[in-house]
Amino acid sequence: MDWPTNLQMLTAGLAMGSIYALVALGFVLIFNAVGVVNFAQGEFVMVPAFVAVWLMDMLKIPFGLIYLITVIFMGIFGIVFQRVAYYPLRNRTFLPVIISTIGVSIFLRNGAQVVFGAEPLLMHRPTPPNVLKITGVFVDPQYIVIIVCTLALLAFQYFFFEKTSLGKKMQATAQDKEMARLLGIRVATMIAITFAYSSILGAAAGILIGPIFYVTKEMGGLLGLKAFCSSIVGGFGSVPGAVLGGIFLGIVEVFAAYYISSAYRDAFAFIMLILVLLFRPQGFFGEKIAQKA
């Protein structure tokens, strides 16, 4: 075995996988809360990336402050999105809502082009551009930041949902809206908070990958699709499934590109998707749920 090469690819795979996991989590949380797939999830990554770049160019303030503003902006953005794209249609079937999220996604992409132009933009790095050489492996510090931040976010999320009253209310809403309402939980507010949180996850992903991906209006497209695959591979609706599915997909892609064929790199995510749907439709972590009558 060629260890430096494999380790190198493992780092890249973990970093890409972490990003897929963040975006996939956004999908799953919204799906659990309102039973709808949000097809604008990829744009939840693109918008904060543009906002952060714009802030960096306009204001000469520290990175931390820019990230904070971006995160707050995206929290509000999530609530507005919910109000515009979901709330008016909440009593309809899932189809109008899905179409509405697709509509918003198209609007955001083209809106970004009108506001920020068609040229790709450069987001400054908080980390040094030079790579670290660790035991023969070259690692981009930003990759380490991505992995660490994702882990921290997951730990925070676990604490939030399991240990805080607000988190428990959100979980209750996701599990059974009717019952939650009977118990006096403000369901509409919980749903709004869920959207805000999903959108903040997108902000985290956008800020983390901005410096290595460059910022374009199309950056959310493929990312959203891969994250969607991840959440299905992990088991749609399962939170650990989304995280592990994302990381799994990120690693499989890199190794398959190296050992099998780089031309079909992007295809491997979708091949995994088809295999899982064929042989384990509930995903790795999903529970088999009989169709409710």
């Binding site: 690819m9 040229e119 790709p120 450069l122 790579v131 991906f213 190794f255 780089s262 790199r265 992007d266």
Partner: protein, 383 residues
Amino acid sequence: MLNTKRILWVTLFSCTLLATIGGGMAAAAAGGEIRIGFTPPITGASASEGSFQIKAIKLALKEINAAGGVNGKQINLIMVDNQSSNPGALAALQKAVEQEKVLALIGVVKSTQVLAASDAIKGYGIPTFIGGTNVTLTRQGNPWLFRVRPDDSITALAMIKYIKEDLKLSKVGVLHDSDAFGTGGGDLVETYAKEYGLTVVRREKYTTKDKDYTAQLLSVKNAGAEILIAYSTNPEDAAVIQRQYRQLGSPFKFLGSPAHQHRDALNLARDAAEGIFAIADFVPGQTEANRKYAEDYKKEYNEEYDGLSAWTYDGLKILVNAIKKAGEDRAKIQEAILATQGYQGVLGTFSFTPNGDGLHEVSVVQIEKGTPKLLKILNVGTK
């Protein structure tokens, strides 16, 4: 919005048409005119490119007519919109030839539109200048097409020649976009490498807009490549590749397709692009003719010229020179164009082959402080 834009264009177009016809008529009274057709995209998806092409060719027209025209006659340039489409290109050609009775044509830049109009051009037997770079355009047995930009094969050949003769390396890794342009380039690189005795130790691909190239770059490195030829289509992808190449510790030398020295790529890659080699169609300001064009263009339009549109300027100049020698006979003009050797144009030195290819040189550049610095103009000769 679209409508107002269209109306604006049509008005503008009609005005220019009237102006040129008016100008032509005045000249016609004096000593007659020579009608030359031009089929740029005035409406549709490529309208903005079209506007640059029009600016470039009008500069040539102005200079030619100001210098007394051709053999005592003024040039009347007839513009017909190709609507940015294949059927539009064909219709524009027919209109220019049948209604406007033009003597020769400055055609289109999109390879697919050239192919759409090629049979009709052959049928009319009308000398037509094109800007499409797909290799096959001038190899389909149509003697009336004249290409005034370097074709795609020249880039690939220049890469291999430079690696063999100047860098003196022999083990080459190839990484290319899996779209038509990248795959075509990858194939040519492999063919020429074999011809010149270089070994392609590894050939890797990627999908447009991929973001992580670790696997491909490591695979090239582990195959023992001394230099990587990166045949990218888009500047954004090129920038990501350059950065990740740098992050892997630049384990081999790097020679990129023109996308790698594109302004967008350099703006994104910044330091990571320093020192890499790339191929450019031409480097602004590399020749006297090029510098003069840049100045005149700036004076006329108060803006920088567009590198992808300057071919219409060179095309019209070469055509007019041919008419000067041959008179107004299409077959003789064709011979005169093919006889053009060593003409100093904006894009480089033109020497036509029997196929109708005018340019055989590209520039090898190295990125220095964020700008492409010319190392060598590589003439790959007439194949």
